[in-house]
Symmetry: C2
Subunit: 300 residues, 2 copies
């Protein structure tokens, strides 16, 4: 093979040889789907049983308990750990891989991570990623090759993103069945404060306050119905994962909490005053916003 | 047939001859299931098309647009209208049916309704009812014979409840596939403030505040995922129905809103201060409450 062809061949192969850090719900689901699509994946996780299971499933070709253990011959690292772990791993990469490599992440906030990516040496190329899907259960045992099907997958190119990595990331997103959507880190974080972090906190506050009421109302849980089931679901999310998310998106989450509190303060006032017409108008505007969301998201 | 046997026969037949007021989601679903179980149902609704459809479906034997139109020979009325309509219908019953009859309702709050039942003349026997299920879509078109399957169905006996009606109500709840749970009107209303009305208001406030943010973030709806979908679902509930519910459960709803606001104020303070350990403890307590709820409700 001449040098030119070899370089093209290497470039193509590089795009399908992944080193995946974190074999939980997100990483595990990604590995399951990509291994079906011809990608070769070695994985890093502290959980040896998960590594063994994934190897047994034919999902990964090798498993290690640290990045340092898997040797320097690495093309493309996908970081699928909690946000602040990603930040600490990004800081470690230059000394582990002085020759550089491609980096992508699946972290739930993007501003801090993309800022850390931009601080990497120029031997690295890096792009932020965030698949907009999840479950309230975690771990490789919950992973699912179809998790990303039809979902939006945000990509945040930044000053450290090379054109080939940007194209390969788009290809990877398509390979897991998702729709790529490029977005700046700050737009992403402002949006998920409303669509993900605020709903989580409302859900967590709901179960905490309901649990308080359940201490004097013994039938509270049996009487709860499907509305409570759905509204409380996010409270089951892993607390350590949410801690990282909230701490790395603090300003946007505080703003979303305040906007929501203002809404509830308004409806509380209308209800207390028995201001029937204004209260109905508030409720109807909520329903109209809901219908607008359903139209724009689901073509309802 | 001797008088004694006729009286027993009449008592048994009475329990399966229903006059259903309101052929929406709840009334329509009840009628669908009970008509399969040997009950004979005549229905009252302002929507003639829904009456015609239900008659065509074999779900009702006759349809009228007012209680006054269906004649005085009535055994058991089920009121399946919004709460304040039920209150006004209860007030009309003594003049419409001076000989009295059995009354049950399916209203979403119970204190005001059971108080109005207790104010009926002694010729009436009445019991409060509330099936703990629903959908965010309404109307006979959304009704479903399996809506009540396995769900809790609260019954609120009160001073106007006779033993035969109490037993017949239990039988009816079993016939729709639900589990009867007797509860005082005030316990019921205190509980649903937390399990139903608070989740609704949180959901409505969520879509209102997210819609505000969407005005400057054009990708907000596309980026939203399943967490937002589930947490926002209740905001699609009929606003006029919710207005009645909130206005007839005002004190309990205000208390639940305040308890929730206190939780969110606490977590907001921890997040703003970056109080990592206390924030994690708050999130973990929420998850533990969620797991407790899932164990007690679903044996998870």
């Amino acid at each position: 093979m001449c040098g030119c062809l070899r370089s093209v061949y290497n470039a193509i192969m590089q795009q399908k040889q992944l080193t995946l850090v974190g074999l939980g719900l997100m990483g595990g689901s990604l590995a399951r789907r990509l291994s079906q699509q011809g990608y070769t994946i070695q994985a890093i996780d502290l959980d040896k049983a998960a590594l063994a299971q994934a190897h047994n499933d034919g999902v990964i070709t090798a498993g290690y308990t640290s990045l340092a253990a898997c040797g320097p011959d690495i093309n493309w690292i996908i970081l699928a750990t909690p946000v602040r772990t990603i930040l600490s791993q990004l800081a470690d990469l230059p000394s582990l891989f002085p020759a550089g490599c491609w980096i992508m992440d699946l972290g739930s906030t993007k501003v801090d991570i993309c800022r850390a990516m931009e601080a990497l040496p120029r031997t690295f190329s890096a792009i932020g990623g965030h698949p907009m899907c999840g479950k309230e259960t975690g771990g490789y045992a919950s992973s699912d090759a179809s998790l990303f099907d039809g979902q939006t997958f945000v990509l945040s190119p930044n000053r450290r993103t090379s054109p080939p990595l940007r194209a390969a990331a788009q290809t990877l997103v398509g390979a897991v069945g998702a729709r790529p959507l490029e977005m700046s880190p700050s737009d992403h974080d402002a949006i998920v404060a409303y669509t993900s972090h605020l709903p989580y906190l409302l859900s967590a506050g709901l179960v905490r306050s309901a649990a308080g009421a359940a201490q004097s109302e013994q039938n509270l849980w049996p009487v709860s119905a499907s509305g409570f089931r759905d509204t409380s679901r996010l409270a089951g999310t892993n607390a350590a994962v949410m801690l990282d998310i909230l701490l790395t998106n603090r300003e946007a989450v505080l703003a979303a909490l305040d906007a929501h509190a203002e809404e509830l303060l308004a409806v509380r006032g209308l209800l207390e005053a028995g201001a029937e017409e204004s209260l109905l108008a508030w409720l109807e505007a909520a329903k109209n916003s809901y219908l607008q969301y359903r139209r724009e998201k689901f073509d309802d």
